[in-house]
Symmetry: C2
Subunit: 110 residues, 2 copies
Amino acid sequence: MKLKEYPLCPRFEKAMDILGKRWTVLILSQLLIGSRRFSEIETALPISGRLLSERLKELEEEGLVTRNVYPEVPIRVEYALTTKGSELSPIIKGIEGWASNWIELPQEKN
Amino acid sequence: MKLKEYPLCPRFEKAMDILGKRWTVLILSQLLIGSRRFSEIETALPISGRLLSERLKELEEEGLVTRNVYPEVPIRVEYALTTKGSELSPIIKGIEGWASNWIELPQEKN
């Protein structure tokens, strides 16, 4: 990669570093409807628990997601969007709309 | 990756496979203002010519970008968004807006 001056907003580039990571937007889309337990997200997405855990930690570090621990028995842990995360809502819904208009899926092989 | 039934729109997943690829959205954002030559995009982004060429070819295959060749001397090649590509405009502008509101950059090191 060339490191040189370029007329590109570095914030946009950083945003794409976060959002472009595989599964990140799909995980965020799962939280648009409200806070969810780890196991609920894991069931909804075809990714391993290890990878989901890694992504959620990154999203927490970036301030898009909060992890709330409820001291019940058994302990309950839920993930929710922060304001920073929930302001991605129109973007995520925009991608969903664009995808349903424009993406064709390959025919299933039997 | 677990392959199992899951209640996720596969079109959304495919869209994120395209858009999530490093540099893709940044290249598309360069074409929002109009058609551009390869060298103009290359100058605007800190990526190698080889990688830019690869990404543009993928975007052409996905139907988001057209490559127009003008038989001048020297030959002129320009890239432009298709309708499918240009309908990503509100999404890309949404990401830019979100980034400028929410992304903090680390302090520059001297």
